[in-house]
Subunit: 209 residues, 2 copies
DNA sequence: ATAAATATGAACAAAGTTTCACAATCGAAA
DNA sequence: TTTCGATTGTGAAACTTTGTTCATATTTAT
């Protein structure tokens, strides 16, 4: 009898759900209506048993003999992941990277709406950026509290990242996507995900001759 | 008796080494000369035992009672990861993302030199981009083979990514950093790492109230 | 010199994750 | 209606990863 209520699902399982969701999107776009754990596993390079076991944490979404209805499974996964609604996201840092993130359409498309941008450089404050006005860091507290924003992206230099994170957490942010190449120290109720492309590159060179 | 020779080290261990290296860099920059598994663990939120165990796969780099000499350990980790030299990298895709990647200084700084850029859009080919000239995809084979390039980044739309990957692999690339939001099908001798920021965001919303 | 404190590396134990294997179920076809 | 092939969901087994403990080595303080 599986349950949706924090059954203490392993984090590694949660980490695979967005990948399943992305593959299902693609299958649906390509006109498929049903799929199977075997087919999904083929696409993703994961065993079919693992996919079935992962999904079974949240309920029986498939039909024996048939497989999974793609749109139904997508809907269920969106519910589980809480991405069946729009999330407002604060962006801190309006340098090259911050600017690129503000312009990237993929966030809004998939439910994450960047809704304010902060920087502390005088020459950037007040400038328009893809529909926003870059705000001073001083305004971070007011803006984020007023909108009850819970998610943020950090795109500032490494030496400023911890301080920015502390500020964000103090005003209620609970999930941070950190592009600064540094580990953040955060309390346990705050989630952090890291993106540092060099780390990924260094992880691959080990296997090269 | 630990060995550097592919002792079949778990990939998860390899994945942590770049993170150790990044933290060591930072400690060195801050003027530290030695550290301990305990201190590193504090910084990274990892147990000290795990750090010692990970490192012991490659040799005894520390001194009992003292800890680890930072520059020595950095050098050893660079050797293990094969990042104690410069790697040439091909970039495919000169759109917004590709352009941002070409301009990002962090790759060259840490040993990954983007040394050619490809796109198939007529209006981009021949244009200068941070010191390179954007080349047509037709020239991919000649250029990559001539320079014996083994690493590439894919920054093209999802629908083109698999085809690009196939081309790259055919001409000798063995490690791919894929920014397209799609899983690539590759032979076992090729490593792929994925960067899709939305996936990271979706992984965090599960834990939000 | 000696004792106390610190820290590694290795062996062992515990916890967590993945795979296996199969009963139960479904839909289609004879 | 019965049979057949396909496919799920799941408990048990196998495997991987993490954490604990301890013998030993080094440094520092007395």
């Amino acid at each position: 009898m599986p349950s949706n209520l924090s059954d203490n699902i392993p984090d590694i399982v949660i980490g695979r759900l967005p990948i399943y969701l992305r593959a299902l999107n693609r299958l649906a776009q390509d006109g498929h209506e049903v799929t199977s754990s075997h087919e999904l596993g083929q696409i993703l390079g994961i065993s079919s048993a693992q996919i079935r076991k992962d999904l079974s944490h949240f309920g029986g979404f498939g039909k024996q003999g048939t497989g999974y209805q793609i749109v139904f499974l997508e809907e269920k996964l969106r519910q589980v992941l809480k991405v069946n609604r729009e999330w407002e996201v604060a962006l801190v840092g309006a340098g090259d990277l911050g600017t690129a993130l503000a312009h990237y359409g993929g966030f809004a498309e998939r439910g994450f709406k960047i809704s304010c941008v902060f920087d502390n450089a005088k020459e950037k404050i007040g400038k328009p950026l893809n529909g926003f006005t870059v705000q001073a860091l001083d305004e971070l507290e007011t803006t984020i509290k007023a909108r009850a924003i819970k998610m943020a992206m950090i795109a500032v230099p490494a030496k400023a990242a911890q301080e920015v994170a502390d500020k964000l957490i103090a005003v209620g942010v609970r999930a941070i996507l950190n592009y600064a190449p540094i580990n953040l120290n955060v309390p346990p109720e705050v989630r952090v995900q890291y993106i540092d492309p060099v780390i990924h590159m260094q992880r691959m060179t080990f296997y090269l001759p």
